[in-house]
Amino acid sequence: MNLLEARDVSVRFGSFTAVDKVSVNVGPGERVGLIGPNGAGKSSLFAALSGFEDAGGGTIRFNGRDVTGYGPVRRARAGLGRTFQVPKEFAHLSVRENLMTAAPSQAGESLLSLLFAASRVARQEKEIGAEADSHLEFLNIAHVANESAVRLSGGQKKLLELGRVLMTGPKLILLDEPFAGVNPVLIGEISDRIRELSGQGISVLIVEHNLNALSQLVDRLYVMDRGRIMAEGKPDEVLASDIVREAYMGGVA
């Protein structure tokens, strides 16, 4: 049974069709890749899947429920987390605070419990803090925990976003170019982390231009061009096919 089933999802900006009746699916714990040249509509598809854009007549089912009508907040609560192509860190909060903010249903966010249940809030803060620390270790950015997020490098900001989405306890994470601006050594580490996540049953759909890093990481690969899925299958088969070569190398629209 698929965790995510998107059918005929379309995204239009005025007269321009960025995503044209695209269907994709991701199984539980599965690692799926999505590649395509710039402007193929990958980020627009992510926006539709995460609820920031309308599904344009298509349907999106997640974890057995039809979430087409859900906004980004309800979809995230249902376990469909995402990161952004350009990192959207909380610039003037510390890295640790960035992660702690993401923890769901915090008593400390209700004014009543803040004033009348201070001890419960304090206790929960410790738990959330510990959880954040573990993720920071997991992504080995613990050494910058107290830095203002704005001062991080591009790669570190990507890790911060990953850590943040993990705090929400997602079932599926839409990773938008996790390796962009990240040094090769770190790419290996991030790949291992992602493999461990899927080991814990968390599936990922990854948009990435670093084809060889991606092909070693994912079980399945979609190729997208001019708003449509051109091919799908095992990474090595798909990469060898002429469709990909044409989309990437020659005859690019």
């Binding site: 995460s50 920031f52 906004g71 980004p72 907040v73 309800r74 995230a76 609560r77 987390g81 995402r82 952004f84 959207k88 860190e89 909380f90 610039a91 003037h92 909060l93 510390s94 605070e97 960035n98 702690m100 903010t101 993401a102 923890a103 769901p104 915090q106 008593a107 400390g108 966010e109 209700s110 004014l111 803040l114 004033l115 809030v121 803060e125 959330i128 107290n146 203002s148 943040r164 989405v165 705090m167 929400t168």
Partner: protein, 299 residues
């Protein structure tokens, strides 16, 4: 001599209470609220009219906290749908609509004739001191509580969430949190603080008219929080003191410029205040204490 300093202290503490509310809106949550004087006016008229109708002053203060909060709900909702510079003009419109309503509803507010003979704070709380000293005491307490409340709020998960909204609202949505409920609650708290400031101001000055609640008051509160450093409680405090120094200090410029006649003095004062605004925004944009972007994670 001291009574004048008390008067200036009361004037400063009223602006500080409003500043703490507005700093919560803009400094911590990024909400550009240019209608703060609207909440100030609602609080002033609520408490003064209620106490004139014979109800005890504490009840008047309670209403001065409640009504602005209720008025803030629709505006909180609007802040979700509108871009921040649009929100600035819409809230400016809100404060003008409040003022026009006060002018027009003569049956309730006595309109432009204003409300004279309002019981002062000493009478209201049975304090054996003069009206202005009583106002000063009540204002010191109110500001202390407000500062404690703001510190408590901004250091809690709630505080983290609203600052996250300030830094990137879209990312907050992607993490499964609804900015709406936070923004509306922040608007309500800030509005209540402004309402309380209005109530104490009304009972201090014992005569209120619609022309005391013009947009200029909102501009002055904005200057205070930006001058001191938005997003920092210490910034609001220092900013309010700096604002008072300009507003009242320029009153004594005449003693330094003997050649200028009284009549031209008004123009010189306006010139000094205007120039000060430009210079400080130009050369010290992040405020005297540095705003939320320049400090570490210290609030």
């Amino acid at each position: 001599m001291e009574a004048y300093l008390i008067a200036i202290a009361v004037y400063a503490l009223v602006y500080l209470l409003m500043g703490l509310g507005l700093n919560l809106h803009y400094g911590f949550t990024g909400l550009i609220n240019f209608g703060h004087v609207g909440f100030f006016a609602i609080g002033a008229y609520a408490s003064c009219l209620l106490t004139l109708a014979g109800y005890p002053m504490p009840l008047g203060f309670a209403l001065a906290l409640l009504l602005p909060a209720l008025a803030a709900i629709p505006i909180g909702y609007l802040s979700l749908r509108l871009r921040s510079d649009y929100l600035a003009i819409v809230t400016l419109g809100f404060s003008e609509v409040v003022r026009l309503a006060i002018i027009n509803e003569k049956w309730l507010t006595n309109g432009v004739q204003g409300v004279p003979g309002i019981p002062d704070v000493a009478q209201g709380f049975g304090l054996p001191v003069s009206g202005s000293v009583a106002a000063l005491i009540v204002l010191l307490i109110a500001n202390a509580l407000a500062i404690a409340l703001v510190y408590r709020l901004t250091r809690s998960p709630f505080g983290r969430a609203i600052q996250a909204i300030r830094d990137d609202e879209e990312a907050v949505r992607a993490l499964g949190k609804d900015p709406g409920s936070f923004k509306i609650r922040v608007f309500m708290i800030g509005a209540s603080l402004a309402g309380l400031a209005g109530a104490i101001y009304g009972h201090y000055i014992t005569y209120i008219t619609p022309e005391q609640f013009l947009p200029l008051v909102t501009f002055y509160v904005w200057v205070a929080i930006i001058l001191g450093g938005a997003g920092k409680v210490s910034g609001t405090i220092v900013g309010t003191l700096a604002l008072m120094t300009f507003l009242e200090g320029s009153r004594f410029l005449r003693d330094l410029l003997p050649g200028v006649s009284e009549v031209e003095m008004a123009s010189v004062r306006l010139f000094v205040i205007g120039l000060a605004l430009i210079l400080l925004v130009r050369f010290r944009p992040s405020g005297i204490m540095g705003d939320w972007t320049s400090g570490g994670t210290q609030r």
